[in-house]
């Protein structure tokens, strides 16, 4: 990787006595696409605002290119932000919004014209120069916000849930667009989102946060395949998380069965969490299965079926391409490398059992709660 550009060291921050960040250590490298991922209220936006200079940490240091910048005001930082609701200046048209940063720097007007045109072309906004922000669609406002930030050629671009207000199709397009812009400009992107799919598909590095702490830092593949605890395993994609015991290296016992696996380095008979992704379980006839259970629910998902299987009281979620009927008895087969063993953590036992599936989904996918929580978060900050 390239050299480290931003360093956060043991950052702590509280608002009105409520601890929002506790002990954040984070290195961000040059030209990297880093995503801060976590549920509402996990501290990801606050972390971003500390890097942008809008908040000062109570404890800890922020370094930019080796220099401590805790007390440097936002306008002196080589960082620009795409705000959550864009914050485009309503009294200026698209051209003047994009030119704003350059005018402040007193760049010559003909150079401004050149650079604004270039930026509007790159973001696909040609022809919108004289429109007011209020007359643009969400996606267009989004592009103006990006153009307005990028035209200043910052070292780092901060993006605070920039796609949150867009519909699904537009989000996908803008994800590709952002990735393309990041490649084209070579600017470090720090991206805040609560959407794990977005994080996995766009980032070089994903930082998973919860309760004001960093849970895991890694590439999207690492985070998905080797989650460090039950929270990460559950937040990133779907997972079955079971209590287990590590008998010895490469032998784990869970669900009343001993499995071969590829993990090691645990103490003998150490209690662990076992993660198995729904797509890694094969459905086989009962006599050929390592485990057997009864199908309690089937959902058609288009290219696969999502089934819930009751194995001795623990509900597994399994993705299979072959139809199985509800109430059918089936066998389950799991390859050794599909089993991922994690150390016990404070999140053990809280996630990964699909017996309360519907409630959990309702809570997670309710857009209103999500939005209002976000609102609170920004108000607090």
């Amino acid at each position: 990787m390239n050299n480290t550009l931003i360093k956060l060291r043991s950052i702590e921050k509280s608002f009105d006595g409520e601890q929002v960040l506790c002990g954040i250590d984070l290195d961000i490298h040059d030209k990297e696409f880093v995503t801060l991922l976590g549920p509402s209220g996990c501290g990801k936006t606050t972390t971003l605002r500390i890097i942008g200079g809008f908040e000062t940490p109570d404890v800890g240091d922020v370094y930019f290119d080796g220099e401590r910048i805790n007390d440097l005001p936002p306008h002196k930082r080589q960082v620009n932000t795409v705000f959550q609701k864009y914050a485009l200046f309503p009294h200026l048209n698209v051209y003047d919004n994009v030119a704003f940063g350059l005018r402040v720097q007193k760049v010559k007007e003909d150079e401004i014209q050149e650079r604004v045109r270039e930026m509007l072309t790159m973001t696909g906004l040609k022809g919108f120069e004289s429109r007011r922000p209020a007359t643009l669609s969400g996606g267009q406002q989004q592009r103006v916000a990006i153009a307005r930030a990028l035209i200043n050629r910052p070292r780092v671009l901060l993006l605070d849930e920039p796609l949150g207000a867009l519909d699904l199709k537009l989000r996908k397009d803008m994800q590709n667009e952002l990735k393309r812009i990041q490649h084209a400009t070579g600017i470090t992107f720090i991206y805040v989102t609560h959407d794990q799919e977005e994080a996995l598909s766009m980032s070089d590095t994903v930082v998973v946060m919860a309760n004001g702490r960093i849970q895991q830092i890694g590439t999207p593949t690492d985070i998905y395949n080797e989650p460090v605890n039950a929270f990460v395993a559950d937040f990133i994609g779907e997972s079955n998380i079971l209590d287990g015991v590590m008998l010895c290296d490469n032998k784990a016992r869970f669900a009343a069965h001993t499995f071969d696996c590829v993990d090691g380095g645990f103490a003998k008979n150490e209690a662990v969490d076992v993660v198995i992704r729904p797509e890694d379980v094969d459905v086989v006839p009962v006599e050929k299965g390592m485990l057997s259970g009864t199908v309690s629910g089937v959902t058609f998902k288009g290219d696969y079926y999502e089934i819930i299987v009751d194995v001795c009281g623990f509900k597994w979620m399994i993705e299979t391409s072959d139809y199985v009927a509800p109430e059918q008895k089936i066998g389950l087969y799991i390859e050794p490398d599909a089993i991922h063993i994690m150390k016990k953590s404070e999140y053990s036992g809280k996630f990964g059992d699909y017996s309360t599936f519907s409630e959990e989904m309702d809570h997670l996918s309710d857009p209103d709660t999500e939005a209002s929580e976000n609102e609170e978060e920004t108000l607090l900050s």
Partner: protein, 274 residues
């Protein structure tokens, strides 16, 4: 059902309509009537022609009002900014303090200001106690303008404060993010975004300033004749009603023009003032 409701709604407006016709529309028509008639009730333009001899009064009035309005803006804008940036509890306290004088009659406020500025008043007592020469203030143009500022400042601060409160603080962050120091943020973002409040404040100070007569009488010590004073004097004697009406008419037109100009500005900002 709906028709009945709308009848009721219309009926609800009747008391005000009657009030408005009796005390606003009718007097306005009288003003126009008197302005264009002589003592015998026949049509004449002589009242209007006579107005040219009052042109310096109009000029002085406009100048005083403009200075007072400008000073109110100079004092009121930073004040509104400070209030809007303080804690919510402090904001409440400060706005109450600001509005407190408005609950007291304008006459009483002006009179109390006069006792402060008088030759034997508090300010001069203080000056002599400190060994300075007493300063004659009442009877000067400065005192009249000070009175206008003192009486009408809240009308400048409140609309500006409201427009600042409505402004999303994210714009300030965005400006800082794009390289503005606090001074540049003020001029490039805060000022344009609060322009509707400024225009509204200007109108609300300028209009009462230009029509006041009490302030100039008390604090001006009779040395300054503003339009308001002149009009008041004309209406003391029936024989000069007609000139007074003509003066009133011209002043109303002046006010309407200034309001229209202000509204035109604010239309571009997408908001109405009055």
């Amino acid at each position: 059902m709906k028709k009945k409701l709308s009848f009721l709604e219309r009926a609800a407006a009747v008391p005000h309509m009657v009030w408005a016709i009796m005390f606003i529309v009718a007097p306005l028509l009288f003003v126009a009537y008197f302005a264009f008639t002589d003592a015998n009730g026949s049509f004449t333009l002589s009242n209007i022609e006579l107005l040219s001899s009052y042109s310096h009064i109009f000029l002085v009035s406009i100048c005083f009002s403009l200075v007072a309005t400008f000073c109110c803006l100079l004092i009121g804008y930073p004040l509104a900014f400070v209030i809007s940036r303080s804690k919510p509890s402090t904001q409440k306290l400060l706005t109450v303090l600001l509005m407190l004088p408005m609950w007291i009659s304008l006459l009483i406020r002006t009179y109390s200001l006069m006792t402060l500025l008088d030759n034997g008043g508090l300010v001069n007592s203080l000056l002599t106690a400190l060994g300075f020469e007493p300063v004659t203030m009442v009877g000067t143009g400065g005192a009249v303008i000070l009175g206008m500022i003192y009486d009408f400042l809240p009308y400048m601060v409140l609309p500006i404060y409201t427009s600042m409160q409505k402004m999303d603080h994210r714009y300030l962050e965005a400006a800082a993010d794009l390289g503005c120091n606090s001074f540049q943020t003020m001029f490039r973002v805060v000022l344009p975004l609060t322009a509707p409040g400024i225009l509204s404040g200007i109108t609300m100070v300028f209009v009462p300033s230009i029509s006041t007569f009490y302030i100039s009488q008390k604090l001006g010590g009779g040395n300054f004749d503003l339009i308001g004073d002149t009009i008041e004097r004309q209406f003391k004697y029936p024989s000069t009603y007609h000139v007074g009406a003509a003066l009133s008419l011209v002043m109303m037109i002046l006010i309407l023009i200034s309001v229209a100009v202000m509204n035109r500005f604010s239309d571009q900002e997408g908001e109405m003032i009055v």
